[in-house]
């Protein structure tokens, strides 16, 4: 019994590995200097879907919303085993909060059509909100199982899942279709297969094809005559499509999305203010790693009643 599955992923700045290069002189983080990566727990979500396909058959579609450069994450998904991908990318989608993001993703899933299972990572490392999964389940009116760590059984009607709760776990049985958010503990994502890397490293979105050809035609500004650009780009795009290497890009009209509910316009929350955390050196006492110095430190703390 094959299952139709969609995995929602996000390309994120690597906030876990902030190197000196990504720090501004004033001690704040230069966000644009961070490398873009596949959100770690989204890899676990993808792995869970691929494992279902391996065991039961089916199809895994990977969808992301982001700038044109997010196509890189979709290439990665193809290299790891996804059957097809789609990129939601348009100015109208930009600066979306979690509600507007969930709305747009819901529209994309409706375009894909029937599904049995949706998978998201538990949360993304840039926002750490864990909200888009449940909000997407809400938008599509399907049940959700958050913090999923293992699929224990799967039938065409229902899924049995182990999910992590505070201090333990639950085993729940949930009717299909359903949405799962997957924790990092769930599995070890499979590596990219050499054969698929060779095959899909050439996968491109139409945006990427046009961008590259525009640079060839007009190396200085990248803005050649639109007719010439189309004449050169269209055959390349058609060729990629024939080879199954085209990463489709969807705008609001392609997924029947109401632009008033997308992006900044569709976001109830607004960022009022952002303050960068500044790492300022405080005066700290240097303690030598000797027996005497450490004994003196412990004595000092005891005098201050720290251990009472």
């Amino acid at each position: 019994m094959p299952f139709k599955m969609v995995v929602l992923i996000k390309q994120v700045p690597d906030t876990k590995n902030i190197t000196a290069k990504a720090m501004n002189d004033d001690g704040t983080v230069n966000r644009s200097a961070l490398p873009a990566i596949f959100n770690p727990e989204d890899l676990n979500a993808l792995e869970m879907a691929l494992a279902v396909r391996d065991a039961h058959g089916g199809r895994v579609t990977v969808v992301t919303m982001g700038p044109p450069s997010a196509a890189a994450a979709l290439r990665e998904a193809l290299m790891r085993g996804a059957d097809e991908v789609a990129l939601l990318s348009d100015r109208a989608f930009a600066v979306a909060d979690t509600l507007a993001t969930a709305y747009a993703l819901g529209c994309a899933i409706r375009r894909i059509g029937h599904f049995d299972l949706l998978f998201c990572g538990r949360q993304a490392i840039d926002g750490d909100t864990a909200q888009v999964g449940p909000q997407l389940a809400g938008a599509l009116d399907v049940p959700q199982v958050t913090y999923a760590s293992e699929i224990l059984a799967l039938t065409p009607e229902s899924i049995r899942v182990r999910r992590l709760i505070e201090g333990g776990y639950e085993v729940v049985e949930c009717r299909l279709p359903a949405l799962l958010t997957v924790v990092g503990e769930a599995n070890e994502p499979r590596p990219r297969r050499a054969k698929r890397v060779a095959q899909f490293k050439r996968a491109r979105s139409p945006l990427e094809v046009r961008e590259a050809i525009a640079r060839q035609l007009d190396p200085e500004k990248g803005k050649p005559d639109p007719a010439r650009l189309a004449e050169r780009a269209n055959p390349v795009i058609a060729d990629l499509e024939r080879q199954g290497l085209l990463i489709p890009v969807w705008a609001p009209a392609d997924v029947a999305a109401d632009v008033a509910r997308c992006g900044a316009a569709g976001s109830p929350t607004k960022v009022k203010n952002i303050e960068s955390i500044v790492l300022v050196a405080t005066d700290h006492k240097r303690v030598e790693p000797t027996k005497e110095a450490i004994a003196a430190l412990i004595h000092e703390l005891a005098e201050e009643h720290i251990f009472d």
Partner: protein, 339 residues
């Protein structure tokens, strides 16, 4: 804007009849917000065979407690809870609704926000009432909820507002608000909520539930000895444990140590872990990422042990020991035992 006089509403989370600490913490903050808005503070409590919990919520600062008591609500499941909470919000029309950022709160709140199509900010570390002017349209808003949270791995602190949509919703981290002191003499209203469900209880069935009492009490610990990537292995954490045990403290860990599998996640301190304020925090082999700092910077005294003299942890430690933790910690244990 529609007339909203329903005040501030706190989702009072309970498990097996025991109210979650984070919900009680939210009541002291909620009281403050309600007073700033000059409105009342409500709580919504769902469960089965509830007894004195509503009265305790009133003692902790509530003016009104909405109680849904039904066998189908005995254990938390998303859809029935989301339905009842949404229905109460639709009827009570609160300005502000807050949830604890517990696994349950983070499962429920987004589902409710999606249903009500309103804004929700996750994992706030502070909430305030203040005015706001839209930077583009120059529209002025009075007395909005400032939803303050770290983002971007803890590298920034963002203040979020929900100008046009109601209610304004947020989840709030555990441990960042103080617990209220209950006053049994306080008066308040207990309002029963009719439990109407249309098949919501049929979607998910709980087959098994294994839940241990929280063994790691980082929040209440006076001393925390935390290990990071520098500890190197699960076995290395034995030494961290020994020092914590000697000092009568708890064992903490950085995200790096947890992600590497050296120690269980309930030990994690930091933006995505627990926020702590012990009298003494000893950071061993922790480089001191901003996300870790967000969870422990308010500790009374911070001792950093690291082989790298340039580790960021030294920038906010009170005492810095440049050295190998496997050399330093035994000396600390010895010094404490002979003090």
């Amino acid at each position: 804007m529609p007339d909203r006089t329903g005040g501030v509403l706190v989702f009072a989370e309970q498990d097996g009849g025991k109210l979650a600490e984070v919900s009680l913490e939210l009541l002291s903050k909620g009281r403050e917000l309600a007073d700033a808005l000059d409105q009342h503070l409500g709580a919504i409590l769902l469960g089965s065979r509830l007894t004195d919990q509503p009265r305790h919520l009133i003692a902790c600062g509530c003016d009104v407690v909405h109680v849904a008591d039904d066998p189908r609500l005995a254990v938390y499941t998303t859809l029935p809870y989301a339905r009842i909470v949404s229905d109460v919000i639709a009827a009570a029309k609160p300005e502000v609704v807050i949830f604890g950022a517990s696994p349950t709160g983070r499962d429920l709140a987004p589902r409710v926000a999606a249903r009500l199509r309103t804004g929700l900010t996750a994992d706030c570390t502070n909430l305030q009432i203040g005015d706001h002017t839209d930077p583009v349209r120059k529209t002025e808003y009075k007395k909005l909820l400032y939803q303050i949270r770290p983002a971007f791995g803890g590298n920034i602190i963002a203040t979020i507002v929900t100008p046009e949509h109601r209610p304004q919703m947020a989840t709030v981290r555990e441990g960042v608000m103080r617990l209220p002191r209950p006053d049994p003499a306080r008066h308040g209203a207990i309002v029963p909520v009719p439990v109407k469900l249309d098949g919501e209880a049929d979607a998910v069935r709980i087959i098994e539930r294994v839940k241990a009492e929280r063994k790691v009490n980082l929040k209440g610990a006076k001393v925390i000895v935390a290990g990071g990537a520098g500890v190197g292995s699960p076995e290395g954490f034995e030494l961290v444990r020994e020092l914590a045990h000697t000092l009568g403290g708890e064992v903490g860990a950085s995200r790096a140590a947890v992600d590497a599998g050296f120690i269980a996640r309930d030990h994690q301190v930091g933006q995505t872990g627990t926020t702590v304020r012990p009298k003494l925090y000893i950071a061993a082999g922790i480089s001191g990422s901003v996300q870790h700092r967000a969870g422990m910077a308010e500790s009374g005294q911070i001792i950093a042990i690291n082989t790298d003299p340039d580790a960021p942890i030294f920038a906010f430690a009170h005492y810095g020991i440049v050295g190998d933790l496997f050399d330093v910690i035994p000396k600390m244990i010895e010094a404490y035992k002979s003090k």
